[in-house]
Symmetry: C2
Subunit: 140 residues, 2 copies
């Protein structure tokens, strides 16, 4: 049974491994900002949102399970970087950046730029394909 099944070609394994390694690289560069990659992404997505965005809508935008987002939000809320308040529909909660959150993001952006440049450089010609492919996967 072994031989024809090349587990080393597993799409899931290869993708997860790549994600692990890239996350470690970003986390290392972002370390001085005290933000992890996931948290940076969260703040960055919230920055343009004027009066806040509902949790489910945010989860959709991030391609993230809603309950995962709930836990991730708890971390940045505890750190005072985002605030949650009820929307007009009292079932909803609107997430928005606090002043501290905005400041933390601004301080982290140069570090992110650095990590991002490094990633783009490493991928070289394949950078465009990389973006297209990861987005195609997300378009399921």
């Amino acid at each position: 049974m072994a031989g024809r099944d090349k587990f080393g070609d597993c799409a899931c394994f290869n993708l997860r491994r790549a994600a692990r390694l890239v996350t470690q690289a970003y986390d290392q560069v972002l370390a001085p900002s005290k933000l992890k990659a996931t948290q940076f992404t969260l703040l960055a997505v919230l920055a343009p949102a004027g009066k806040g965005i509902a949790i489910s809508a945010l989860a959709e935008k991030l391609g993230m399970d809603r309950t995962t987002l709930t836990r991730n939000l708890a971390v940045v809320e505890r750190a005072g970087l985002v605030s949650l308040r009820p929307g007009e529909d009292p079932r909803t909660k609107l997430v928005s950046l606090t002043a501290n959150g905005r400041k933390a993001l601004e301080e982290a952006v140069p570090l992110w730029r650095e990590a991002q440049s490094e990633a783009i450089d490493r991928l070289g010609d394949e950078w465009g394909d990389f973006l297209k492919m990861t987005r195609r996967i997300a378009a399921i």
Copy 2:
């Protein structure tokens, strides 16, 4: 400051999102086997290893932090799928499949094949590029 920085192009975000979605797809297909994608990978890598492999060597092979592997091994060990015994160098621990582990793997392989086929179909022409790219990232 916003505008030139396209956070939606973040390599880390795009990669993590893709990994989340693909993992969910694999986990769903693998569900009848009771194995999660990570556990399947673990068993699959161990299958050819004759008399066992040391934890650090296995972590290296998987591109995974050693301490992460320790926790992941605890899960499959508790389930009776792998066993750990000291190597010749008493500092090392050799990991190997149990009979139950081998059986669980064999039962899961057809499900994995299904998930893998689906992934390959979805990526179409880009499948080769996908593998090359994720491996290139791992080659850092």
